[in-house]
């Protein structure tokens, strides 16, 4: 039964743990609150959406720490680049 359960539900507690950890660490490392980060995420999606179609369900945003500095790293899968008519001035 256990094996069937695992087969059908892919959501194990470690995935939840990892997701929660990643979020809380972004907050810990930068002092940016989760709400602000969520807003930032929405804004980034909005801006990019103007130019290309993106897979919003698979966006990964992460803060990498290297040699004392922190970098915002986003992985945003592009589905299609939109053809934008050049606006005339």
């Amino acid at each position: 039964m256990d094996f069937l359960k695992r087969f059908f539900s892919r959501n194990s507690s470690k995935d939840t743990a990892k997701k929660r950890l990643k979020l809380v660490l972004i907050h810990d490392r930068t002092d940016i609150s989760p709400e602000i980060l969520e807003k930032l995420r929405e804004d980034i999606i909005k801006v990019i959406n103007k130019y290309m179609e993106i897979d919003t369900s698979n966006i990964e945003m992460d803060l990498d720490r290297e040699n004392g500095s922190v970098a915002l790293v986003a992985n945003i899968p592009i589905l299609k680049v939109k053809r934008i008519k050049q606006e005339r001035d």
């Binding site: 256990d2 470690k14 743990a17 990892k18 950890l21 490392r29 290297e66």
Partner: protein
């Protein structure tokens, strides 16, 4: 060989700093190095107990700092292996009894006598942590695959980086292969992905650790248990020997065939 001062730290309490310090000290001494283990947890001394040397403590490192005794008098020699010494913490004092400068001086003194100075750091990020870390060149961060321990480890790694400790390497303690297999425990890759730090070893959750603490006999003295093997491997990696990570599933007693075996009592 140049002397190396290594702090064993974690942020969160109870993840295995003292056990790690004791086992690595014994492992390195058995490999022929001159080793001193310092208990920097002033007021909450425990390394003496875990190493089985509690009855032989006379002076402690506050006594050296305050000039009540010479360095050599405070060092407790372990009779079970050559070249292993313990420098106990004071039990009846608080962490304010030492200044960072005094700690640096003490480490420099010990450097002259030993190949390895291992410092068992207190939990927390206050003065006691800073004192334990300040004299060290490199750091071993101990964590367990639990969210609270990993979060605290991240905080500590950030602090160690800003204090220019290098290398900073991670030990993941108390991994339970069965839970990992079921997806109910963060695995090694998950922890490394979150923390972005170099790994130096993984220690399986093992009853033998508690038994060895009960008897005051660190595992690396000769136990054949998985945890003992894992600690010995880390000691080897510390001196640059390339030992592959242990297969944590090797000793597993579960799964379909083990279940069958149990039924038929093979």
């Amino acid at each position: 060989m140049d002397s190396r001062v290594i702090v064993i730290t974690s942020g969160k309490g109870g993840v295995g700093k003292t056990t790690t310090t004791a086992n690595l000290s014994v492992g390195l001494a058995k490999a022929g190095f001159r080793v001193v283990a310092i208990d920097a947890d002033i007021g909450l001394r425990n390394l003496d107990l875990i190493m089985g040397l509690e009855n032989r403590v006379v002076y402690n490192f506050i006594d050296i700092i305050e000039g009540n005794c010479r360095l050599q008098q405070a060092l407790v020699r372990d009779k079970r292996v050559e070249n292993l010494f313990l420098l106990p913490a004071a039990q009846t004092r608080t962490k304010d009894a030492v200044s960072p400068e005094q700690m640096v001086t003490l480490c420099e003194e010990l450097r002259k006598e030993f190949d390895f100075v291992l410092i068992d750091c207190p939990a927390g990020i206050e003065g006691g942590f800073r004192n334990a870390v300040i004299g060290a060149d490199e750091a071993l961060v101990v964590t367990t695959p639990e969210v609270s321990a990993v979060r605290d480890a991240d905080r500590i790694i950030g602090m160690l980086e800003s204090m220019n400790k290098s290398p900073i390497r991670l030990i993941i303690n108390r991994v339970r292969p069965n839970m990992v297999k079921e997806g109910e425990m963060l695995d090694v890759d998950d922890v490394l992905d979150v923390l972005a730090v170099k790994l130096i070893g993984v220690i399986p959750d093992d009853d033998s650790v508690i038994k060895s603490a009960n008897s005051g006999e660190p595992l690396t003295f000769g136990s054949k248990s998985p945890a003992s093997q894992a600690f010995s491997n880390i000691a080897s990696r510390l001196v640059g020997v390339d030992v592959p990570l242990m297969d944590l599933n090797a000793n597993e007693q579960s799964g379909f065939f083990a279940g069958l075996k149990k039924i038929f009592r093979i």
